[in-house]
């Protein structure tokens, strides 16, 4: 019989495909941690882990970098809302966010290295005329042992993410009205924000903040590029353990410890929230109106512009290095230019590019199909809304799940298979795709369906001719995000691909430091361009689809 509508069975399949790896990951990590996986890990791992001399130093470093970076991301976001919103540069900030979000972590990290190193571009710009440096200064190194470079990288990358999440919530908070009321009551604008708007906003961006916190505590690729090596961050330390068969149990125990640690930090955050809400109630009640702080606003605008410019200049570094031949300290621009990297290294550059594109398109396509199936079933009220389930992969540290997947894949003999790699990317892309599409799907007026059905359209005809074209904007955006997520995946590609899938992310991180810097810059540039172009396409495609349906376009 021909399928007339998506059935509950199909929804069950989507959910099963999504949940299975999460459970498998858990088993594949828990069993070896306790020495219960014959063949792979036969000893109990926690003792070995806790006795390793790198354990405590790396935990300390991870907490230090992860917490400071997250706190700074939050501060910058509030600073930006208070100081920059409704100023001249606000428009620029808004325009810069999507592209900055699209740039993968690893590529941004490489660009930042070229920027902040002692021999980097910032030092070059001011040398020797101002600094008197004929040779690079020795006062600092990048990456540094304290993790400052890593914190900079995390902040620059994650700040746009939280800011965008916050901006998305502003309309529903009626900011202008709150400001007007607050001002009428004599509060300064900053106080209107801190007393009236931020407490409401916080509860709405808290989930994004948790995702960022989990990410900052467990990131691997950026920590490999910008983080210290001796000791490394905890997640990177676990990576060295997992590749040593005698330490598989310890690595799994560490992955569980990391997950547990992240949840303890979450709990700590909830505690701080309680304190803050108590404190802010007190502050609201005390009636202080505060003075307008022009200087503070100027400072805030300066800080926000600098942070965003860091990202932009990091990208410019990639472009410049990819076409440089000789470029020594302290020249501000390359002394000799060359396109040799692009022309003669085409294998090094374009094979990974093609592979990345293939995997990203497969991932995006499969994620879109799964998401549409699920949301349609949700609309038809055949499946429940499962918002929190989709978040799970984003809140559990990647190493925790992946060590488990890798163990299971080894046992089943499916590691090194390209479907396994795409599957793992799909699990990480689907949450974003569903979350983006869910908003559009749930807001979609059911009357369109009724009208189309009345006109005699069957289910698939209405879906493809009416429903999907009307939602082409969110659909294109979701596809672009899926591409961006896939392009950035380092750990899943590495651990499940048995090293065989040399995507741009893999190529960039594994060969960094060894391969020609100019080629590294070109690789990082390509890795940034793919998601950027995907986002550009997400702007153009809706226009092309909707142009013949002019009435819809104007809606």
């Amino acid at each position: 019989m021909l399928l007339r509508e998506p059935t509950r069975l199909l929804g069950g399949a989507v959910l099963l495909l999504f949940v299975t790896p999460l459970l498998a990951g858990l088993f594949g990590t828990v069993l070896p941690a306790f020495g219960l996986l014959p063949g792979l890990a036969e000893t109990e791992g926690f003792t070995q882990l806790f006795n390793d001399s790198r354990f405590w130093p790396s935990v300390k470093l991870t907490l230090q970098t992860g917490l400071i970076a997250t706190a700074l991301v939050f501060l910058l976001t509030t600073l930006c809302l208070v100081c920059v919103q409704r100023t001249r540069i606000w428009r620029w900030v808004l325009a810069s966010l999507p592209p900055l979000l699209a740039v993968p972590h690893a590529a941004l990290a490489v660009g930042l290295l070229f920027l902040i190193a002692p021999s980097g571009w910032i030092a070059r710009l001011f040398s020797p005329w101002l600094t008197d440096w004929d040779r690079p200064p020795t006062a600092w190194v990048v990456p540094d042992a304290e993790g400052v470079s890593l914190i900079i990288g995390l902040v620059v990358k994650e700040f746009p993410f939280l800011l965008l999440a916050a901006i998305a919530q502003l309309p529903s908070l009626h900011v202008d009205a709150s400001l007007a009321i607050g001002r009428t009551l004599g509060y300064s604008p900053a106080r209107c924000w801190s007393r009236l708007i931020l407490p409401q906003l916080y509860s709405r961006i808290r989930f994004t903040l948790l995702i960022i916190l989990a990410f900052n505590l467990s990131v691997v690729d950026m920590a490999l590029l910008l983080g210290p090596g001796n000791p490394p961050t905890f997640a990177v330390f676990l990576m060295t353990l997992v590749s040593d068969p005698d330490s598989r149990a310890a690595a799994s125990a560490g992955a569980l410890t990391l997950a547990l640690g992240v949840f303890i930090v979450f709990a700590g955050l909830f505690l701080i929230e309680r304190l803050m809400s108590f404190w802010s109630q007190q502050r609201r009640a005390n009636g202080h109106r505060g003075a307008g702080l022009k200087l503070f606003r100027a400072f805030g605008q300066w800080v926000i512009s600098s942070v965003l410019l860091f990202s932009v200049f990091a990208l410019i570094m990639l472009i410049l290095w990819s076409v440089a031949w000789r470029w020594r300290f302290p020249s501000a621009l390359p002394q000799q230019w060359s396109t040799a990297q692009w022309l003669t290294k085409s294998n090094t550059l374009f094979d990974p590019l093609l592979l990345t594109l293939c995997i990203a398109s497969a991932t995006a396509l499969l994620a879109m199909i799964a998401a549409v199936i699920w949301l349609e079933l949700e609309r038809l009220q055949r499946v429940p809304k499962l918002n929190s389930v989709w978040f799970v992969p984003l809140l559990v540290p990647q190493v925790t799940l992946l060590f488990g997947w890798q163990a299971i894949a080894l046992l089943l003999g499916i590691d090194g298979h390209w479907l396994t790699v795409v599957y793992s990317h799909w699990v990480y892309a689907l949450p974003y795709v569903i979350l983006i599409l869910a908003i559009a799907w749930r807001e979609h007026d059911p009357n369109w369906h009724h009208a189309a059905n009345t006109l005699g359209g069957g289910y698939f005809r209405v879906l493809s001719k009416v429903h999907m074209p009307m939602l082409v904007k969110p659909l294109s955006q979701a596809a672009a995000v899926a591409v961006a997520v896939s392009v950035a995946q380092y750990l899943p590609t590495l651990l499940l691909g048995a090293g065989r899938y040399q995507t741009l992310a893999i190529e960039l991180v594994t060969s960094f430091g060894g391969v020609d810097r100019r080629v590294i810059a070109a690789l990082a540039l390509l890795q940034s361009l793919v998601p950027l172009l995907a986002f550009l396409a997400a702007l153009i495609v809706p226009w092309l689809v909707l142009k013949p349906r002019a009435a819809l376009w104007q809606r």
């Binding site: 021999s119 690079p136 042992a145």
Partner: protein, 406 residues
């Protein structure tokens, strides 16, 4: 090429789904290490060889790309370079595969190893063979102790030699007029403001430099040729740790932040962040100058009393899927053609393992015509010190990490 692979892999996968992947791949494996060469050639045709080799140098990557094109054209073998950061990780994967009983259809067909990694593979029976002495070109290999023994561990045909290497130093004559000639002079050099650092062990070059220091500083050099004896390890290495304790605070990054590999020290030399770069390739500087990665003013040298040198090899894991193809590739890498290209700094610049008396005149000319340039290590300055026994690497690395790694 990789993309084509993707699609050829996709077909059976879609039809057979995941679980069948195991069953689908059990094809008859006929070739033995000592099979007739023609049988090897025949079975290899159409095979894909996954060659796990360090991927941190684009010149080496390009060289392997060239080798892939040649074996495809000449033997119908598809060579895929699987780039790895540290081959020890691959040894670990193989060990994991062995313990779950995956004795066929392994992910690795050929790998680039030497020293402690080979020793550990041999000890754990992760190699296949002895195949090396049955390769067509094996009769042209030099008859030298460092090829018969890999870090004092007898090779016994379980790996095939690929190239020679020696620890060398590259410096910029515009910055440094008289580079340090020993561990002791290096200490004075950094004391007077010289900029230096080295890759943190277990990075290969870092471990080798530590071995070099140990060789110079210890009172008991004879112990180094023997397996590590825990009872005397402390005594033998005591002067080394005293030296490093004093050296580290004066290094770039104050001994708290380290480069991850030798290539980064070359980049730091170009950036001016250090004065001396490390390499295991006597001709690296020539290639780097010609490739626009180092200034014209750099030169290469070794310490007065010599530096540690060794040979690197390729080996075939016991569970390799394409053993015949792997033998073909190993053999091709030994061919005078491939070795001459490897010895040329334009492509790689690694000293050959072939005995040049055993190749024909035309082939010898290819070696003799190589222009090493003024930047490379001058011929004749190569006092090569032997590698300590393979067990020293891990013992030194563990102790180093314990002392300085956190």
């Amino acid at each position: 090429m990789r993309i084509q692979n993707l699609f050829t892999l996709a077909k059976p996968a879609l039809s057979a789904a995941f679980t069948l992947a195991l069953a689908a791949a059990t094809s008859a494996q006929a070739v033995e290490p000592d099979s007739e060469w023609n049988a090897v050639l025949e079975e290899a045709r159409g095979q894909t060889v996954y060659f796990n080799a360090w991927g941190g140098s684009d010149r080496i990557n390009d060289y392997l790309q060239w080798a892939a094109e040649r074996v495809e054209a000449d033997y119908g073998v598809t060579l895929e370079h699987v780039k790895v950061g540290d081959i020890a990780e691959v040894v670990g994967q193989l060990e994991a595969a062995k313990s779950v009983g995956r004795n066929e259809n392994g992910n690795v067909d050929l790998m680039w190893v030497n020293g402690e990694n080979f020793a550990s593979m041999k000890r754990k029976a992760l190699t296949w063979g002895p195949f090396a002495d049955h390769l067509e070109h094996s009769d042209k290999v030099q008859d030298s102790p460092s090829i018969k023994n890999d870090f004092s561990v007898p090779v016994e045909g379980l790996e095939s030699p690929w190239g020679g290497a020696q620890l060398v130093f590259i410096y910029d004559t515009e910055v440094t007029q008289t580079p340090p000639q020993s561990a002791a002079e290096l200490m004075d050099y950094v004391k007077s403001g010289g900029r230096f650092t080295y890759p943190a062990p277990p990075a290969f070059h870092g471990t080798t430099l530590v071995k070099q220091f140990l060789h110079e500083l210890t009172d008991n050099q004879a112990a180094l040729a023997q397996p590590v004896d825990q009872a005397t390890f402390g005594d033998v290495t005591k002067p080394l740790w005293a030296y490093l304790d004093a050296l580290h605070p004066m290094l770039r990054g104050d001994g708290k932040s380290w480069p991850t590999n030798a290539e980064s020290t070359r980049q730091m030399l170009d950036d001016g962040e250090v004065d001396i770069a490390l390499s295991f390739n006597p001709n690296e500087a020539t290639a780097a100058v010609r490739g626009g990665q180092l200034p014209d003013s750099v030169r290469t040298y070794v310490f007065e009393n010599g530096t540690i040198g060794n040979t690197h090899f390729v080996t075939i894991p016991w569970n390799a899927k394409a053993k015949a193809g792997a033998m073909i590739v190993a053999n091709f890498l030994l061919s005078p053609d491939a070795q001459a290209r490897k010895a040329n700094p334009e492509f790689w610049g690694d000293p050959t393992v072939l005995n040049l008396d055993s190749v024909n005149d035309e082939q010898r000319k290819a070696f003799n015509d190589i222009d090493l340039g003024v930047w490379a290590l001058p011929i004749g300055s190569r006092a090569v010190l032997p590698e300590p026994h393979a067990s020293w690497a891990e013992a030194l690395e563990t102790e180093w990490i314990e002392r300085y790694g956190n």
